[in-house]
Symmetry: C2
Subunit: 559 residues, 2 copies
C-alpha cells in the first residue's frame, strides 16, 4: 500500500510536468485581441527602483534564482501600475528576518543538495532559525491529534473500529466538542470570536492557571498569535506619531506589524548583563524620549518568556511593569505564547492578568491583552495556526470595534480553535490518555531543557561568545565578539557583520541561525538567535559543527 | 458512550460556572499595590465619543446587552488611552454588514429562544445572511474529510482497522500528501506560500481547468480568500489618493479592506436591468471621474460569479474587462471563489487567467490575481479557512514583496492547505471514492440550483419585489420597492429603510437576511441579500414565512 502510493505520487508529478510543457507551447501562439483595443491613456510606470538597499538586492537575486527556470528574466516589467516605486511604502519598510535572506539562501542550498548530493560540505540543512519544533522531528501529542482527526471526520465516531484506533477519552472529548458546535458543523464559519463552547473551555483553563476569573466573551480565537498582534496594532496605530514600546531584542513580528500599520517602534533595551532584565528606569527613559519627539506612546509589548532572549520575568518585575502601564495609561500587550516553556526550577510562569489581579487591579484599572498560541509550548503545533487573545480592560465601544475587525475575516480555522481549547484543557488524572499524554509532554519539556543547557554551555565555551541562560521559550541569543577584520569583510560584502557570520556558518555547516540585527541589539554589539529545537541525537553534531566553524572563522579573521 | 459524553460536557460547564463565581468573589478583595506607584503623568483620556452614528449606537446597545451578566455596565471607562476617539479612524470607518447589526440581533433572539422557548413567533433562527452552507445542514464531502482526518493523525495509517473505516483512495491520498510535506510534519510551519507539493497539485488543477500552464511558484496559500484580499489591498494602497474600482453592489470584504488600508473605493455600478451586467462604459466613466478627483486608480475588482448578485459573466464581457485592465495598467483582482457554483446550462465559468491567455496576453501584459477558497463551491468548508491566490504578471521585485508580507504570518493552516489541494484535485474516474464523491457533489449542486430557482420565483411573486436570476454563487439580491410610509417609519427609527425591513422580518420570522445598504446599491433603490442555503426541506417554510411577512408589511405600510 505504502509503496504504491508513493509511486502514484511520483506519477502525478510527472503527469503535471508534461501537461505544463504541453500547455507552454499552446501559450506561445498569440492570437490578436478579440475586442477593439481601448484608447490608451498616458500611463508611464516609473522604471524599477535603482536605490534599493544592497540587502534587498541580495534577497531579490535569490528570489529570481529560485523562480521557475521557464520564466524569462530578461523580459521588461509588466504593464501593471504596481512597481516597487508605487507600492505601499509601509510594505517596503517592513522586515522579517526569521524568514529573510539567510532562509532564502538555505532553501537554495537545500534544493542544490537534492539535485546534486555532495555539492556542499554537509548532508542536510538544519533549520535553527525558527521555533518550528515538528519540522525538526518533534512528534505531536497523540491525544490532541486523535481529537482533531475525530472532529474532522465525525462519521467514524460511532463505528466499532474507531474504539480500536482511538483512546476512549479522545472519542469522548470529540463528542463533547461536537456538542459545543452549533449543528456539529465543524465545516461552518463560527462566531467571529470563535466557538462559544471552546471559549468556555479556554476561559476555564485560564481560571485554573491563574486562580482568577476569565470571561469567554474576552477570548478572541485567532489563526495563531500573529493575526491577533496585527489586530491590536491596527487598532492602536493612527499615524507614525503613535508609538509602541517594544523590547530590543524583540521578535520581529512586532517591528514588522508596526511598520505595516505605519506606527513607530519605541525601543526599550533589555539588559543583557542582568540576564536580559527588563528595567523600569529604561522604560521611563524611552517613554520620555519618545514623548519629547512628539510620539504618543499607546502600548507596551512584553514577551514573557522572552523571544529571542529566553528570560523568564520575576514576579516583582511583572508587578512593576503592570504599575507602569497603569500609571501611563498604556495598553499592556503580553506575548505569553511560551508560557509552558520554562526550563529552570527557580522560575515559574505568571500571566500578566494574574499579576494585575493579585495587585487588586481589575478591568477598570488596566487594559491588557494576553496572546497565546498552539504553536509553542510542549505541543508545538505551528502548522495548525491556532491561538487566542484574552482582551480585558477595554470599554464596550472598543470591544465592539475589536469584534468588528475580527468579523471582517469571519473566524479563525476550526481545527486551530479546537486545538487551542485542548492545550488549555489537556487530559486529567484518571483519563485513559493521561499517562501517555504526561509522558509525551514531560519527555519533550525535559529534553528541551537538556538541549538548552547543552547549547548554552557549548556557546559559552567558544572564544568571544557569551550566552545567557535559556530560562524559557525556545531560543538562545548569544553575544558574539567579531574581530575587526570580519567586520571589514562584512562591510566589503555589503552585509551586516552578524549576517556575514550567519551566512558563512550556513555555507560551511548547513546550520541556519538568524543574525541579531533582525531582532535589534545595542549598537556595536552582535548576536544571533539559535533555536534549541534540533532533536537530541543531533545536538552533538550541531555543537561540533558550530565549534569547528567558529574556530575556523576566528583563525581566518583574527585581528 | 454518546450519552455519557454529553453528561460529562454538561458537568464540565457546571464546574466552570461554579469556579467562575467563586473566583469572582476572590477578585473583589483588593490588596494595595505591592510597589510604590510611579509619578503620574498628566494623561486625561477624552470622554467616550458622543457623536457616534445612530447605527453604531444601536450595535453598541446589542453588544452591551450580550455581554456577560456579571459585567458592571455602570463602571467608568478603564484608564487605558485607547478610546473610540483615539482609535485608528480607519477601523472606525470600516463596516461589515454580513456580520453586522442584524446578525447581532439574531444572536440575541437565539439566546432568548434557548432560555425561554416560545418567547418569539418562531422556533429557530434561519441564517440566510452568510454563505455558510454547513451551518445550515450541508454535509461535508466524505473523501475530503477522510483525507484530512488521516493527515491529522497519520499514526493510524498503518493500522488494519483503518482499512475498514476509510476508503482506499483516501488512505493513498493521505500518504501521497504526507510524502509532499518535509518530514511528514503536518504540525510544522510550511513554506510561507504553502507546501510546495500541494502547490504543484493546485497548479496542475488550474492547468486542467484552464488549459494553460500554471506555476506553483505563483500560488500563495492563505487562510481562506479574505487574508489574500487584504494582502493585495495592503500592497496597492499608499493613501486615500489610491483607488480600487469595485462593483456596486459588492461583497463588503472589499469596502472593509479598502477602509482598513486607508484607500478609496471607486464604485462602478452593475446594471440590474441587464441581469447585473458589468458594462465597460460605466467602468471608463467611473475611472475618469476618479482621475479628475486626483485619485490614482490601481486595480479593478471583479467578482465572478457575482456576490451578492449571482450573475455569471459572459466570455466576451470578460475579454473586454481584460482589455480594459491591460490598457489602463490596472491590477485585475478576480474573486473567483464561486467558480464551482453555476446553476444555469447556458453559462460556464472561465477564469480571467484563461481568458487573458486565450487573448494571447501573458505575464508581461497583465497583472492578475485570482482568489479561490475552500469555503464555497459544492464543498462549503468555511470553517477550514483554506484558499489561495494565483499571482501572475508582477515583476520579481513585487513578487519578493508579496512573499515578504506572506512570511510575516509564517504560513496558512496546513489542513486548509491540504483541503485547497483536494478541491483542485478531487477523486477521478476509477478511484474507489469517485462514485460516492460524484453523487455527493452532484446532489449538493443540483439541490442548490433548485433552491435558487424556488426562492427566485417566490421573490418575483411578491408585490414590489423583482429578482434577477441566480446564475451562480449562493445568493439572491432582490430589489424591493418600499412604500413611503415604511421609509418614513425607518427614518423615525433612525435606520436605513432596507435595514428596517430586514429587522422587521427577523423579529417576525427568525429569518436573517442582509440589507442592500451593506453591499451598496443605486441611491434610492433598496435590496437585500438572501442566501440560497437553507436545506431543501426548509425552503417551503422559508417561502411561506417570507410571503406572509411581506404581505403583512405592505398592509401595515401601504401608501
Amino acid at each position: 500500500m505504502r509503496r504504491s502510493a508513493a509511486d502514484k505520487a511520483r506519477k502525478l508529478v510527472k503527469t503535471t510536468t508534461s501537461t505544463r510543457s504541453l500547455s507552454s507551447n499552446s501559450a506561445s501562439h498569440r492570437p490578436s485581441p478579440l475586442v477593439t483595443p481601448l484608447p490608451r491613456f498616458p500611463l508611464s510606470p516609473p522604471p524599477p527602483s535603482s536605490n534599493s538597499s544592497p540587502l534587498s538586492q541580495f534577497a531579490l537575486r535569490f528570489w529570481t534564482s529560485l523562480s521557475s527556470p521557464s520564466s524569462d528574466s530578461m523580459a521588461p516589467p509588466p504593464s501593471s501600475s504596481l512597481t516597487v516605486d508605487t507600492l505601499n511604502p509601509k510594505v517596503l519598510k517592513c522586515e522579517y528576518a526569521v524568514r529573510g535572506e539567510i532562509v532564502t539562501l538555505a532553501q537554495q542550498l537545500q534544493q542544490e543538495l537534492q539535485e546534486n548530493p555532495g555539492s556542499h560540505p554537509f548532508d542536510e540543512i538544519l533549520y535553527c532559525n525558527i521555533g518550528n519544533p515538528q519540522s525538526l522531528g518533534q512528534q505531536p501529542i497523540t491525544f490532541f491529534r486523535e481529537v482533531l482527526a475525530l472532529c474532522d471526520h465525525p462519521a467514524i465516531l460511532d463505528k466499532s473500529e474507531t474504539q480500536g484506533l482511538f483512546s476512549a477519552d479522545a472519542i469522548e472529548r470529540a463528542w463533547q466538542i461536537l456538542d459545543q458546535i452549533p449543528g456539529r458543523a465543524t465545516g461552518a464559519y463560527s462566531h467571529s470570536q470563535g466557538i462559544k463552547g471552546l471559549r468556555d473551555t479556554i476561559a476555564a483553563g485560564i481560571e485554573a492557571r491563574d486562580g482568577f476569573p476569565a470571561d469567554p466573551n474576552d477570548i478572541f480565537l485567532t489563526d495563531g498569535a500573529s493575526p491577533a498582534v496585527h489586530m491590536m496594532m491596527q487598532l492602536l496605530t493612527r499615524s507614525e506619531e503613535d508609538g509602541i514600546l517594544c523590547p530590543i531584542p524583540q521578535y520581529p513580528l512586532y517591528s514588522a506589524s508596526i511598520a505595516l500599520h505605519g506606527g513607530t517602534l519605541v525601543p526599550y533595551y533589555l539588559n543583557e548583563a542582568t540576564g536580559w532584565g527588563l528595567e523600569i528606569p529604561e522604560l521611563k527613559k524611552q517613554l520620555e524620549a519618545a514623548k519629547s519627539k512628539g510620539i504618543t506612546v499607546r502600548s507596551l509589548v512584553v514577551i514573557n518568556p522572552g523571544n529571542p532572549t529566553g528570560q523568564v520575568l520575576a514576579e516583582d518585575n511583572q508587578r512593576e511593569i503592570v504599575e507602569f502601564c497603569k500609571e501611563e495609561g498604556l495598553v499592556l500587550l503580553a506575548d505569553e505564547v511560551y508560557q509552558e516553556n520554562i526550563y529552570v526550577p527557580d522560575k515559574k510562569f505568571h500571566s500578566f492578568k494574574k499579576i494585575s489581579r493579585t495587585m487588586g487591579y481589575g478591568d477598570k484599572d488596566i487594559s491588557l491583552v494576553s496572546f497565546q498560541s498552539v504553536s509553542k509550548g510542549y505541543y508545538g503545533e505551528c502548522g495548525k495556526r491556532g491561538g487566542y487573545m484574552e482582551v480585558t480592560g477595554f470599554s464596550p465601544e472598543i470591544r465592539e470595534q475589536i469584534y468588528k475587525v475580527a468579523s471582517v475575516n469571519l473566524c479563525s480555522n476550526i481545527s486551530g480553535q479546537i486545538l487551542a481549547s485542548l492545550v488549555m484543557s489537556p487530559p486529567k488524572v484518571g483519563d485513559e490518555s493521561y499517562e501517555s499524554y504526561s509522558a509525551e509532554k514531560d519527555g519533550i519539556l525535559s529534553s528541551l531543557a537538556r538541549r538548552a543547557k547543552t547549547l548554552e554551555d557549548a556557546f559559552n565555551s567558544l572564544e568571544g561568545i557569551t550566552c545567557n541562560k535559556a530560562e524559557g521559550a525556545m531560543y538562545l541569543f548569544p553575544s558574539i565578539h567579531l574581530p575587526q577584520k570580519a567586520i571589514k569583510a562584512a562591510e566589503a560584502a555589503k552585509t551586516a557583520p552578524d549576517a556575514f557570520y550567519c551566512r558563512r556558518l550556513l555555507n560551511a555547516t548547513g546550520i541556519v541561525i538568524v543574525p541579531g540585527s533582525g531582532f535589534g541589539q545595542v549598537p556595536g554589539t552582535w548576536h544571533f538567535r539559535c533555536t534549541i529545537l534540533p532533536q537530541e541525537d543531533k545536538i552533538p553534531a550541531v555543537v561540533s559543527r558550530l565549534t569547528d566553524f567558529h574556530k575556523g572563522f576566528l583563525d581566518e579573521f583574527h585581528d
